[in-house]
Symmetry: C2
Subunit: 203 residues, 2 copies
């Protein structure tokens, strides 16, 4: 089964603009992508990357400027619905997490992100299609049901933790020692505990 990692190569992770410069956001995006690719390969997969602009990574990259829905739905149609997609901003992934994603024997396996997104899916059903806008996990549950596919979800904090906002950086420092965590530490970020809340802040 084809396994695709979509990534924004042009102006990624704009919601991190308050703490990272544009160049830093690109570097950090590539570090997170490296962690995701490493986990996927560690679980025996051969992922390919589809990016809106060139990115540096240890996998074949196709540059494709189409929006995410159009791109993934074209790939689904070409592959008769046999496709796995894992987002590029999941730096907590481990090979064992990836194995859990591919374990369920369902027509469509969905992985919710914190906040209602869909951080990964495995489709084995010809009629499944995606719609990443809004609370996409609800739409994907409905799309899969309406396609007549059996649906299951994977319960994983590591797969659910996509890094979009400054508060998410603490999760990387708390739960990873991969490339993204290294990049944050090299950039001067450290965990700060204040009033019972944990944040990643630049020293």
């Amino acid at each position: 089964m084809q396994l695709v990692v979509p990534v924004s190569g042009s102006d990624p992770k704009t919601r991190l603009s308050a703490v990272l410069t544009p160049a830093e956001r690109r570097e950090f995006t590539e570090a997170m992508l490296a962690d995701v690719l490493s986990a996927l390969r560690g679980a025996g997969h051969s992922p390919s990357v589809v990016a809106t602009a060139p990115v540096a990574c240890a996998a074949p990259v196709t540059v494709d400027e189409r929006g995410l829905d159009e791109l993934i739905n074209a790939l689904l149609a070409e592959a008769d619905g046999e496709l796995a997609v894992v987002m590029a901003d999941l730096p907590l992934l481990r090979p064992s997490t990836v194995e859990a994603l591919f374990e369920p024997d369902a027509g469509v396996v969905l992985v919710p992100g914190i906040g209602g997104g869909t951080n990964a899916f495995v489709s084995r059903h010809p009629a499944f299609r995606v719609d990443y806008h809004g609370a996409s996990i609800r739409d994907h549950r409905r799309n899969a049901r309406e396609a007549g596919a059996s649906v299951t979800e994977v319960d994983s904090r590591r797969l659910a933790t996509d890094v979009d906002e400054p508060k998410d950086l603490a999760e990387v420092l708390l739960h990873s020692d991969g490339a993204a965590a290294d990049w944050l530490r090299d950039a001067g970020f450290e965990l700060v505990v204040d009033d019972g809340r944990v944040t990643a802040e630049r020293a």
Copy 2:
């Protein structure tokens, strides 16, 4: 093994004050507790509740005004370290999630919450003790190691999702149809998608 659910009975969930009155926070706290107890019993356990003030629930309740660390460490000492603790604000729990918590055969099994807390643990080691202040998952990893216990962690979004802040309410509506979700719907909360972010708002 004794399984304890600690809960604040007096003025619970103060970080939800912006959206819930004090009486509503108590009701919602009891609804979340009902979901947790239901999942624990569904997995074959007989939990008991320790509350700082009386709470309504379908389990034996002990009222104990001690702070969380003092309370849990006293229970650990009494039980020679054989104790499981599951927090009361985890309304996404299911019996299968609870089974995953008790599956690993380690001296100390830790469950990180989003944000660095420790949402549940299973201890089978006489020297393990807790310290819930700050980024407690880091302290508990260290405490377990220093006690000489084998340590493992359970990777579960459902166990990681503790409900503390208004943004967390969306997770309940997205991923549960239990008592807490019912309570929110009856109180007029519904999912609102705005600019790609999902929130639970009162109609």
